[in-house]
Amino acid sequence: MHSIVIIDQLLNGLLIGAYYLLVALGLSLIFSLSGVVNLTHGAFYAIGAYLAVRLTPHIGFAGSFVAAPAFVALLGIAIERLLSRFHRGDPMLALLATFGLAMVAEQALRAIFGASPLLYAAPAGLQDNIRLGDFVYSEYRLVMLAASVVAVTLTWLLIYRTPFGRVVRAGAQNPEMVGALGISLAPYRMAIAALGVGLAGLAGALLAPVVTIQPAMGDKILTAAFVVVVIGGLGSFRGVVAAALLVGVVRGLAAYALPAAGDVSMYGLLLLALLFRPRGLFGEHLSGEHLAFE
């Protein structure tokens, strides 16, 4: 009985970690190509959730599952265009601009949909529980976990196993040299902005049935994603994956021990990381004759 509860909490932890990962991974990817921490990311997550709620009546749950992140990705492209036109070279202004846009997005959601939470439930077919002997787990949660794992795996394959990803990794290291090889980085920046932001939109659509949908919902997950990238290291794929799972699982287990300890565990991990791994989980390399990249 006891071990089943622990497995349950472990799965919950992995699930939480998977969401954090979807949001943090997008942040990290966008940072590695543009050098800017995108503060609009939480707003994109919220927009993904709102869109999922609004689209489901028209195109069904599965349809909104695809359409919401896709629409968010388009927004990401538009914003990347806007920012790159004005602020290539001044990261502070770009950072402020992303925050301003986040503010506008939150207020726009409030103006359009109102401040009170929207109601949304998982589709009827997924509201049951799966039973394996004594072990009981929500179907919808398993679907969410699977969807997140698939999305992260596909992203990994894209970055590390395709010619497209090769350009992205090269561009993160030495954009000038990539240009001198005949490759214009602009479309890649756009694609990565779309991908990164789309992952946040996907997280929003996935989480819509299990969280409170309100305009400022992005702040909470953005905070967690920041904790993850600080622990894992911006631009480090494996660092972010490891940190997200670590934060998620520790949170799951801590919440089992004491419900209020969930949040505390996250900040505790952050504190430990800052004290003992001030260069990130796997370390950030000093640039010597050339940059190292993982």
Partner: protein, 821 residues
């Protein structure tokens, strides 16, 4: 009565707080709006310490504002019922302590993490305030009373406004003093160039922590006033959106102006209290306003106003004054000699990937000598200086400075221990004035460098010494010029001035004589010799002729090791290899016509013209810093030309981007190779081929590349950074070929290579002449002349000679005359 312009912001602030309530009441608002505006103005001005002075975006300001409110409310309830001054002081001190601890942790991570970490801090405090309702009262908050204090009836809103206004003015005065103090100047320096500040000996992290704590304490003052104004402490100010609103206020008002943040606070209150009457979504409008300012007018409202008003005022442009040469300032000259060597480095070693940049060298510098570290580009000289001055920790080795071990210290500690250094490319506080640059460097060793009240202008001895140094280096008359606008030679002098101003026990100078005109070189050489009579100098040079006359000791370096002159000669011995006859065709491939180029604010190339025929090899000759690399970058499309025209195979390519240029058949091999670490040789080559199968030139597939570099076949799946330097160079050339190519641009392809690899590369280029045309910039004169059909000599960014390489090869007199050797 005349008032100095520097006091104007303070007067404006005083006038504003008097006029503010009248104006707001006139607009139909209440006095409470005016009080809020002043309180927010205080918080914003505090926030701007980080935003403008240090260049950091903080989401912590609202958190400290709100935290101070709780601290005041709770301490009034628990310890000081009926009091107001004591709880306020407790709150401010408590917040300062929390901020110091938080800042200590947050600043451990790099600049990019600052905004996210302050965001997390605010979110955490906000969550605590909401959840821990037993203490914080949750949503309803903690109420306070606003009693009379010191005989003043604070319950009267007008009197409370007056108190807030006076505190606001005092805060403005404090900030005004701090901005102008030694510490305030250092904060600007950190924003401009953090690395340089470190190498002057400033403990940058301590200054940042001070700024963070100071900014938080100002927020706490505002937070306390806010709580006693509304008589309740709630969780609202802790929210991210309040911190964000404060940032928006600063930007809208103008973060580069002293009173900009205060103006922004007023605009926020106007939006909140006037716009809210018209629409419930006033925050949406405020947010759009914020975005519009960031994108279109990042200098904010006051920035726009200042630009309009200075438009009609002419800025005085000054030139260098023709003054008699000055002597080394007394503070630096004639110091007691040191017993034994000043600097001893033993077995220094540093490895980058597969390359041993410094492979176990010993350097010993005696007092009052000029010690030159000489070797070809890529020999590891700069890395050696980097290890000595703490830029990189050595992998192995011992360093003592005046008898004290400094090997494990950080750059600022090494600088304070007495090591001053200059950089290969001038490393300055670009947008600060020349005198401010030097002043900052002198101030670095002054006891008062942490001063926060006395204006830096009044540190008479610092200023006197800065002036003396400026004169000594021949920069008098340029004091008020922006550092970035100086000529390369003047920037070099200023860089040396900065290193010298720290009154070092030893001066480390990286290539101080490179890329200068003959007369300038002679002048700076004499200057260095003069300095070395008082302070030992360790300098690097790629050309032994430049230092032979002034150096007391010469240490030769090659391949990261200390070698003898004979080794260097052997390595540089003319290659007696078979050279194929020229393959140059009659058809013109590339035509460069009167191209100008500049980087940052100084000119690099002047009216450079150059032709390359098909299959021709053109050598670009000239000293380091003559503009060879920049010219190659212009040809590759990386640096856009400011004037002139470039034609490639009949097509005008002047305005094309580097990617478009590369797709037209140009392969570029940068100095330092620029390979993608962590990617295999195959990956590096595949990247280059991706967009360059255009039919522009000869097609290069893997097979043909292996035909040129057979050696690479066995290294095909090795990560590029694990290769040796020679192999990396081959990959860099192979990558430039990979795809369709008709012109190769090679920047120092022989730099730092062994004799065997140099030979192999030479053979490869010799064979390639039947396939493509090449432009080679290299300091190996023998190799460049042997390979090339024609030579172009650059001096200080201009072409001084063009002709057949054969002439330079055979006619030593001509070579001496044109190449000063």
């Amino acid at each position: 009565m005349r008032i100095a312009p520097k006091y104007l912001p303070l007067l404006a602030a005083a006038g504003s707080v008097v006029a503010l309530p009248l104006v707001l009441l006139g607009l139909g608002l209440t006095l409470a709006s005016a009080t809020d505006a002043v309180i927010f103005a205080i918080a914003c001005m505090g926030l701007n310490v980080l935003l403008d002075r240090v260049g950091l975006v903080s989401f912590g300001q609202g958190a400290f504002f709100g935290l101070a409110g709780y601290a005041a409310a709770l301490s009034q309830r628990q310890w000081f019922p009926g009091a107001i001054v004591a709880p306020s002081l407790v709150a401010i001190v408590a917040v300062a302590i929390v901020a110091w601890l938080a800042g200590f942790l947050i600043l451990r991570r790099g600049r990019a993490y600052f905004a996210p970490l302050t965001f997390v801090l605010a979110a955490m405090l906000s969550a605590i305030a909401w959840r821990w309702s037993a203490v914080t009262g949750g949503e309803s908050g903690v109420t306070v009373t606003r009693p009379s204090a010191l005989g003043v009836d604070l319950a009267n809103p007008w009197i409370y406004y007056a108190v807030v206004a006076v505190i606001g003015l005092l805060t403005a005065l404090l900030l005004w003093r701090v901005h102008r103090s030694a510490t305030g100047r250092v904060l600007s320096a950190i924003r401009e160039n953090e690395e340089r500040a470190r190498f002057l000996g400033y403990p940058v992290d301590r200054y940042k922590l001070f700024a963070f704590t100071f900014s938080a304490a100002i927020a706490a003052i505002a937070g306390v006033l806010f709580v006693f104004h509304h008589r309740v402490a709630t969780p609202d100010p802790l929210s991210i959106s309040f911190s964000g609103a404060l940032l928006a206020m600063v930007v809208i008002g103008g973060m580069r102006s002293f009173l900009g943040p205060a103006l922004g606070a007023l605009i926020f209150v106007l939006c909140r209290d006037l716009l809210a009457l018209l629409t419930a979504h006033w925050l949406l409008i405020f947010g759009l306003l914020f975005v519009a300012f960031v994108v279109f007018a990042p200098a904010g409202l006051l920035g726009i106003a200042e630009r309009l008003s200075t438009r009609f005022r002419k800025r005085k442009v000054e030139g260098p004054a023709d003054t008699a040469p000055a002597a080394l300032p007394a503070g630096l000259a004639n110091r007691p000699p040191h017993d034994g060597p000043v600097l001893i480095a033993r077995e220094l070693e540093k490895r980058f990937g597969g390359i041993r940049a410094v492979a176990g060298i010993d350097i010993v510098v005696e007092d009052r000598t000029l010690h030159a570290l000489v070797g070809p580009n890529g020999a590891g000289k700069t890395t050696a200086l980097d290890l000595l001055s703490g830029r990189y920790p050595p992998d192995f080795g011992f360093i003592t400075l005046a008898g004290k071990p400094v090997g494990a210290l950080r750059p600022d500690a090494i600088a304070r221990a007495g090591m001053g250094r200059s950089f290969h490319t001038a490393n300055l506080f670009g947008s600060l004035m020349v005198e401010e640059n030097v002043r900052l460097a002198v101030q670095a060793r002054w006891r008062k460098r942490f001063g926060w009240w006395t204006s830096a202008e009044n540190l008479a001895d610092v200023n006197a010494e800065a002036a003396a140094l400026t004169a000594y280096l021949g920069l008098a008359g340029l004091e008020r010029a922006e550092a970035a606008s100086l000529s390369p030679g003047q920037q070099r002098l200023l860089d040396i001035a900065l290193a010298l101003a720290t009154a070092p026990r030893i001066l480390l100078l990286d290539e101080p004589l490179a890329g200068l005109a003959a007369e300038e070189r002679v002048r700076i050489a004499a200057l260095l010799k003069d300095i070395s009579r008082h302070i030992p100098v360790l300098l690097t040079a790629h050309d032994v002729d430049n230092v032979r006359e002034i150096a007391d000791v010469i240490t030769m370096m090659r391949d990261g090791k200390v070698v003898t002159q004979a080794d260097v000669d052997a390595a540089a011995a003319p290659m007696t290899r078979h050279v194929s006859p020229s393959a140059a065709g009659a058809k013109m491939l590339l035509r460069v016509d009167k191209v100008d180029a500049s980087r940052s604010k100084s000119h690099i190339l002047h009216a450079v013209s150059l032709d390359v025929a098909e299959h021709e090899i053109v050598a670009l000759l000239g000293r380091n810093g003559a503009g060879k690399s920049t010219l190659l970058k212009v040809l590759a499309g990386i640096v856009p030309p400011a004037a002139g025209a470039i034609t490639l195979a009949g097509e005008d390519t002047t305005r094309l981007t580097s990617a478009e240029t590369a797709r037209r058949g140009i392969g570029y091999v940068p100095q330092g190779r620029g390979l993608f670490a962590g990617m295999t040789v195959a990956d590096n080559l595949a990247l280059s081929r991706r967009e360059r199968l255009t039919g522009a030139g000869v097609h290069w597939d893997d097979e043909r590349i292996i035909w040129v570099f057979p050696h690479l076949a066995q290294r095909w799946y090795t990560p590029a950074d694990d290769l040796s330097r020679g192999e990396q160079q081959m990959v860099a050339v192979a990558r430039a070929l990979s795809g369709d190519v008709r012109l190769l641009l090679l920047d120092e392809p022989f730099e730092g290579l062994s004799v065997a690899i140099t030979g192999e590369l030479f053979e490869a280029f010799n064979r390639l002449r039947y396939e493509v045309a090449m432009v080679i910039a290299d300091n190996r004169l023998d190799l460049a002349l042997a390979l090339s059909d024609r030579s172009v000599i650059l001096e200080r960014g201009a072409v001084t000679w063009t002709g057949a390489s054969k002439l330079l090869r055979d006619n030593l007199d001509l070579r001496r005359q044109k190449l000063w050797m």
